[in-house]
Symmetry: C2
Subunit: 205 residues, 2 copies
DNA sequence: GTTCAGTATGAACGCTCGTTCATAGTCGCG
DNA sequence: CGCGACTATGAACGAGCGTTCATACTGAAC
């Protein structure tokens, strides 16, 4: 027995993947280190050669998906000219595609980040707020330029509520989207782009 | 010591309330029976005079908030004539108000129902699907009558995606709504009603 | 005044938790 | 060939888990 010292060591990645799968399915507190180890064909102790703690694994998972989300959003904005309607549609579509492509990662990040120690949790909260701000900025810019219309809603700070409506539509798409359903991921992403424009009441939309 | 046999026994309700508070804050699996007992000024054993298990308490919480949600939605529909636009706006507004009024209940129900034993979890899933169906039915009815427009979105089954967009906007409102913010709960509910009409592209909206 | 159902106690149950550690196997490098 | 870095093992740790139970107190009913 004892198959020690594996090749170039994909072990950290295998543990990461197992954490993703199990945290998604059972929640962070509902998953044990022993289940994690079993899922990678390891014993519990071996996990600690690669992650300092169960919390450290959670942070690695949450941090990585936030990196990827930031990258997707930045790349999308870089690919747009300055038209807020184009930007909003592209952002909503790209972020929807991202959440459909990474349902486990995003669900764990959205649901289980509360179990991180205070410092890391705060850093995550800050990153999430920056994403919110990004959508809100596009909506505000569009309103000032007259492409979007929120005034007629007759509510204080409707931009904030509208940006959260768009974000909730996008972020929780994986709670119902079925890859075996009649609509493809790409179609759903495009559809969310158009629904975002409807929410913003983009002129001529 | 031992202050036994309290008055008419509000104890089950106090345990229910403590479960609500703690499950919301730390998650179901992140909450211990001892914490629950402490929060009600009881010892762990006393909990079991009122709930058969920790799972039974979770089910009581989740079940009650689903009852209340059903009641709100039915009452709202009863208060409307048959106009789908009126119905949609009223449903979105009322359900938003409900989620703002019961942030703990709805968060626990939405997040922790996965920890229920299979049978009870299935019953919850069925109730949630019925709510989805209710919104989708109104959208479909409105489309047939020509008050809503989804065809121009150019996507298969856009009604399903649109109804989920509306539901996610509504169901997750408590993740960002701040009662100390500039917009009141009532305003936000009304605003969500109008945003739902925008998503459905209600004619003249 | 006695009874009895209801309810709390507090100690204990067996189990599982996250984590540690001495040990040993494996492999690339000199 | 032999060393040293890496990594897995498996047993153990103390702590805490959900739950049970014998016991005792209380207050309303008769």
């Amino acid at each position: 027995m004892a198959v020690n010292a594996r090749s170039p060591s994909d072990t950290p990645e295998r543990i990461h993947e197992a954490g993703l799968e199990l945290f998604n399915e059972r929640g962070y507190t509902g998953t044990t280190v022993r289940e994690l180890a079993d899922a990678c064909g390891l014993t519990p102790g071996a996990i600690y050669n690669h992650y300092a703690s169960k919390e450290a694994l959670l942070f690695a998972i949450v941090d990585r998906v936030h990196d990827e989300a930031d990258a997707v959003l930045s790349a999308t904005l870089r690919g747009c000219d300055g038209d807020p309607a184009v930007q909003l549609e592209a952002l909503a579509a790209a972020f929807t595609a991202f959440h459909i492509a990474r349902p486990r990662e995003t669900r764990v990040a959205n649901r289980d980040y509360i179990y991180l120690p205070a410092g890391e949790r705060d850093s995550v909260v800050r990153r999430r707020r920056r994403v919110r701000g990004l959508f809100a900025d596009v909506l505000r810019e569009g309103e000032q330029r007259g492409c979007f219309a929120f005034g007629e809603l007759g509510s204080e700070d409707a931009v904030q509520a509208a940006s959260m409506a768009i974000l909730n539509m996008v972020v929780f798409v994986a709670e119902w989207f079925d890859p075996r359903g009649p609509r493809s991921a790409a179609d759903t992403a495009a559809l969310h782009g158009r629904l975002a424009l409807r929410i913003a009441r983009a002129s001529g939309c």
